[in-house]
Symmetry: D2
Subunit: 338 residues, 4 copies
Amino acid sequence: MLIVMTPTATDDDIRAVCARVAELGFTAHRIPGDAQPAVCITDNDGSVAEEKFCNMAGVADCVSITRPYKLVSREAKARSTIVDVDGVPVGDGSLAIIGGPCAIESREQAMAAAEVVAQSGARFFRGGAFKPRTSPYSFQGLKQKGLDILAEVRSQFDLRIVTEVKDVETLNDVAAVADVLQIGARNMQNYSLLEAAGRQRKPVLLKRGISATLQELFMSAEYLLSLGNYNVILCERGIRTFETMTRNTFDLSAVVMIKHHSHLPVIADPSHGVGIDWAVPPLARAAVVAGADGVMVETHPQPDEALSDGQQAMAPDVYLQLVEEMNALASACAPVRR
Amino acid sequence: MLIVMTPTATDDDIRAVCARVAELGFTAHRIPGDAQPAVCITDNDGSVAEEKFCNMAGVADCVSITRPYKLVSREAKARSTIVDVDGVPVGDGSLAIIGGPCAIESREQAMAAAEVVAQSGARFFRGGAFKPRTSPYSFQGLKQKGLDILAEVRSQFDLRIVTEVKDVETLNDVAAVADVLQIGARNMQNYSLLEAAGRQRKPVLLKRGISATLQELFMSAEYLLSLGNYNVILCERGIRTFETMTRNTFDLSAVVMIKHHSHLPVIADPSHGVGIDWAVPPLARAAVVAGADGVMVETHPQPDEALSDGQQAMAPDVYLQLVEEMNALASACAPVRR
Amino acid sequence: MLIVMTPTATDDDIRAVCARVAELGFTAHRIPGDAQPAVCITDNDGSVAEEKFCNMAGVADCVSITRPYKLVSREAKARSTIVDVDGVPVGDGSLAIIGGPCAIESREQAMAAAEVVAQSGARFFRGGAFKPRTSPYSFQGLKQKGLDILAEVRSQFDLRIVTEVKDVETLNDVAAVADVLQIGARNMQNYSLLEAAGRQRKPVLLKRGISATLQELFMSAEYLLSLGNYNVILCERGIRTFETMTRNTFDLSAVVMIKHHSHLPVIADPSHGVGIDWAVPPLARAAVVAGADGVMVETHPQPDEALSDGQQAMAPDVYLQLVEEMNALASACAPVRR
Amino acid sequence: MLIVMTPTATDDDIRAVCARVAELGFTAHRIPGDAQPAVCITDNDGSVAEEKFCNMAGVADCVSITRPYKLVSREAKARSTIVDVDGVPVGDGSLAIIGGPCAIESREQAMAAAEVVAQSGARFFRGGAFKPRTSPYSFQGLKQKGLDILAEVRSQFDLRIVTEVKDVETLNDVAAVADVLQIGARNMQNYSLLEAAGRQRKPVLLKRGISATLQELFMSAEYLLSLGNYNVILCERGIRTFETMTRNTFDLSAVVMIKHHSHLPVIADPSHGVGIDWAVPPLARAAVVAGADGVMVETHPQPDEALSDGQQAMAPDVYLQLVEEMNALASACAPVRR
C-alpha cells in the first residue's frame, strides 16, 4: 500500500507514518523524489487496514498497489527517476550513451577504445574486468588488473565507468572503480548479489535475464530498492527464443513496457541483443526513437582481434557515425522521449 | 546456382541458357529487375557442373548460392525488389503506410476508418473480410459482404486494399478486390495456399508465422517466387516467446535481417507485435528508423467497440499523429533507409 | 452451457431442448457417448438464462462450462471418448501403435515397412503421400501414386491407414484411402481444412502445432467437434523451444494435461518430438506409462536411404523390440492408464 | 584431447604424461573410474600435437574431444559415473528417490515429511533452508534454523540430505549438514558459486537453468569437474516455453540426451517441471522408464498449508503410492535402464 502525503506534510508527519508502519510489523519505505511525498508499505501479508493511516496528520490518500512489484512501479512513484552517476544524469530525457569493448584486454586496447568513446561525446565507458563465461576454458577477464586499467581510463578521460560485478566477494573492489555496477543477465536472479548491491549506494545497471519476464526483472530490481538503493537502471539486452539468425531476440517492446510500468530509467543493449556488428546501428537508432534513456553499444579498436564477442563490436568509424545518428534522432524525438 | 549474364547478353543468349538448364532436368528462373541479367537454377540435387554453362554466349559467371533459399536471397538478386501495387511502389526507399481496422465490421465502420487513413496520406488500407480465429465461436469476418465493402472503399478513396486470403477456395474472390493479398501468420506454411498465390501475379504480403524462423519465412516466400510471382512483401508481426506482458514479442531485428539477406521489401506490423494500442507508436517509429519499407498499423473509429483486437487499435487522432511522426523520421533517416 | 439430461430422458425431451436452443438463436450439440445424455450450447454470447431450460422435461441440471473450449472439454463429457477406426478402438485403455515410414517412397518400401508393422502386432500403418515441406525443392511425396500404394497396403495387411491430408482440394482423395485423416502441425490452424474435416466423419488425428498452446490445440479440435465430427484423436509431437540438441522439445506433460482436461484420446509421436532414432525408444516407453492412448513411431526398412526424416526412423529390429517393450509396459501400467 | 593409457600403464607413466602436459602450459586431468586410465588435457588453445605424447610409456591412444564440454563428455569417460552419497550410490542402475517438501518450514513439518519419505524406502530427503525467491517479500527459508532441522532429520532417519546452497558465503554452513549440495536453476551460471562447489568434494546436484540448453548445462558442470569435483549429478526440472497450462515444460528428452552425451548421473524433477500435484505421478513414472538415475518429487504433510509451491507437492498417500509404482517400473525396466 502507498500512503500519499499532502504537499505540506512535515518531516515529522512522515516519520510518524513510518513509525506506525513499523509498529504494525511491516516495512516503511519513503519514496524519494516524487512530486508528493509518499510512504510505501511492504512485507505486509495481504491488505493493511487503511483506517490505521487515513486520519494521521499529513496523509492525503491511501492507495493500493496492484502489482507484485511495489517500489519499482509507477503506482508507487509517478515521476521518472533520474539516476545521478557522479554528476551525469540518466533518465532526465537526455540520451545516455555507453560505449566500449566487451572486455578489458590490455591497457592499450582500453585506452584506444576510451579515446574513441570520449571523442564521440559519450559520457560512459563500458568494459568488463570480470567476465562470466559459459566455458571454464574461455578468457575470464583480467580481473583486478582490468580494474586497474579502468581506473586509469577514469582518471584520463571524463568518462563514467560501467563494469560488471559478478559476485559478492569482489563487489567492493569493483565498486572502488566503477561509477555504475553492472549486474549481468546470468546474475539477474542471484539474490545474494542483489542484496549486497542493494545495501550499498552506487548506481546499479541491472540486465534482464536471458529468459526473464519483465515482471521478474522488476522483482529483481525490487530487491535493490527495498534495501534502499534507488539508483537503479534497467537494461534490455535480448532474450532467448527459437530464432537462430540472431544471437538473441532484441525485445524493443521491453523498453516501452518498462517506461510505462516503472519509473526507473532503461538502457538498450542492441550489441548483445542481436550479436552482429552490422545489425547494431539500425537497432540502436530504433531504441532511441522508442524512448530508451540510453543505449549501450560495443566498440573495439580492432574487432577482429577481440578476445570475446568480437563479431558484435563495431569498428571505431562505424561507432562514431552511429553516435552522431543517435544524437540527431534524440533531438528530433525529444517531445516523444518525455 | 546463379548464372550471371554479361550486361550485353541478348535475349537469345538467356533463352539458350534456360534451354540448357531444362535439358539437364532442372528449372530455370530468369531473375527480374537486377542490374545484370541472371538465371537461377533450382530443383537440382546438389551441384550442377559449371562447365556446362561457363562457355556459353553471354555468360559472365557461375555463382553458387549458399543458402537453402535461392530466389529470395540477395545472392540471387543484389538489387532490392520494388513491388508495384497498382502504381504505388513498395521497397523504393519511400515509407509505405498501411492503416485500417483489424476486421471490416460494417460499411459505416470501414468508410469512417478509410476516411482517416486517406486523410493521413497513407496509400494502403487494410481490413479483413475473412478472419482466421482461434475459436470457432468468434466473429469470423463478414466474408463476401466484407469484400463488397472493401471494393466500395477502393472506389471512393485513392487507397490500395490489403486484405487476407485464408484458403484456395476464396482466393479468386479476394483477388478480385485486393491490391495486395495478405497471407496470415497461421497460413505461412499452408503450402497449397502459397502455391495458388504463387501461380497468380497479384502482390502478396506474407506474414511471418508465430514461431517461424526467418529462414522458414524465406523458404515460404521461395514457394511464391519459384512459381513466378516476384511481387512479394514480407511482414514481421511478432513472435511467440515466454513473455506475457505483450501479446507477442515484436522482433525488430527481423527487419534488419530481412533487408540484409533478401532483396524483398519488408513491412513491420507493431500492432500485432505488441498488441497494446499505447505501445504501438514507439515501436512503429522504431521500425521506420530500423529500415522497414513500410509499417502496418491498426486504427478503428471506435476501438472500444471493435469486434476483434480492439485493444491494439489506435484511435484516429493517435493514428494521425503517428503517421506524421513516421513520415518525419522517414525523411530524417532517408540516407540510412537506403 | 451444458444441459445435463436425466438418465430417463426421452429422445423427444432432448429434441425439445435442442429446439429451444435453436429458437434462442444458439447452436445445440448432443454430446455422444457419455454416461448421461447432455446437450451443449455454443455460439451464445455470454450467458444463457438457465431458467429457459431448467423446468423442461428430462432436464437434470444446467452447468456452465468455464473454458473457452466447450465440446472438447471433460466438463461437457466426463467419459473418455473411444474412437472407432474401422473396428479398431482408440482410447479404450488399450495401446494403439502406429508404425511406418515418414513418407511413402515406393511400393517396395511401403510393403517392406508394412510387413514389419504387421509383424509387430500394431494395428495402424502411417505413411505420407502428400508431404508439406519447408522447401519447395524438397520431395513433396508421391501424391496420388502414394495413395494408391497405401490402398494396396490396406488390402494386403490388416492395418488401418493413417495419412496426412494437407488441403481441402485433396481431402476426398485422401479420405478414400485413409482410415484416419492426419492434420499436420503446420495445418493445426488451417481453419478451412478443419471445417472440411469436421463436415465429414472419418476419424481425424490432429497434431499440435509447433508452437501451439494446449488451449489452442483444444480450440482447433473444437472446430471439428462443433461441426459434428467427434472422431478426433489429438497428438503431441514436440514443440519449438530454444533447445537445439533435439529436433523439437517433446512435451510429455501435454499427454497428461490432455487426458485431464479433455475426453479425447491422445497419441504421442516421439519420432518427431526428438528427431533422433536412438532417442525414440525411451521416450516412447515414457509415453506409455504417462497414459498416452497410443504411440506413433517411424520405422523404415532402410533408414539411411529415406527421402525424408531418415535420422528419426528406427530400423526394423529396433522397432520390433520397442513395440514389445511398449506392450509389456501397457500391461504393467493398465491400472494407471485408466 | 584425451590421452588413453594402456591397462598396464603404471602410476609413474600417468604422472609423466601429466608432467608433460604441464610443461606445455596446459592442464592435465586424470579421469577417475573409467575402464582404462586416461588423462584429459584442457586449457589448450586449439590442438595439441599428438606426437608429444604418442611415444610415451603406457600411452595407448590420443583422441580428440569434439565437444566444447570435455571432462563431462562420454568421449572423455565412457563408463557411467557412480556418485557415492555417504554410502548410497547414484548412477549404478538403481533408482534414487529424493522426497520431501520444497522448504523446511518447521521442525514438525520436516519430521512429519521425513517420516513419510523414510517409510517409502527412499534414501534421500530434500528440503530448502535457503530459498531463492522471485519476490523479496516472499518467504526466504528458515536459513540456519532450517539447517539445524535438517541436521536433526539426518540424525533421526537413515536419509541423505539434499538441500540448496545459494551463495558462496553460506556454502560451508550448508555443506556441514548436506550430503548433496543442490545448485538451483537460477544459479546454474553463477560461476563463483560453481567454482566454490568445485573446490570442495561434497556431491553436487546441478539443476538445469530455466532456459539453459543442455550444452550450457554441461559447460556449467565442466566448471565443477575441471576443479576436481567429479561427484556431480545433473537434474532436469523443466524449461521455460510459451505454454502456460503447466508451470514449466518438463523436457524428458533431456534425460535421454544427458545419458547419451555424458557419463554423469541424471535426476528428473517432475514436481518443478509440471508444477501441479496430480500431474507429477505420470511424469515421474515416465522418467523412470526413460532411464533417469533418480527422481526428485515434492511431498508435504499438508500441501494446502505449504509456504511455497504447495500446488505441486503431493499428499503423503499419493507420494507413497507413486514410490511403489516407480520401484516396480525400475525393476521391470532394469535391462533398458543400463
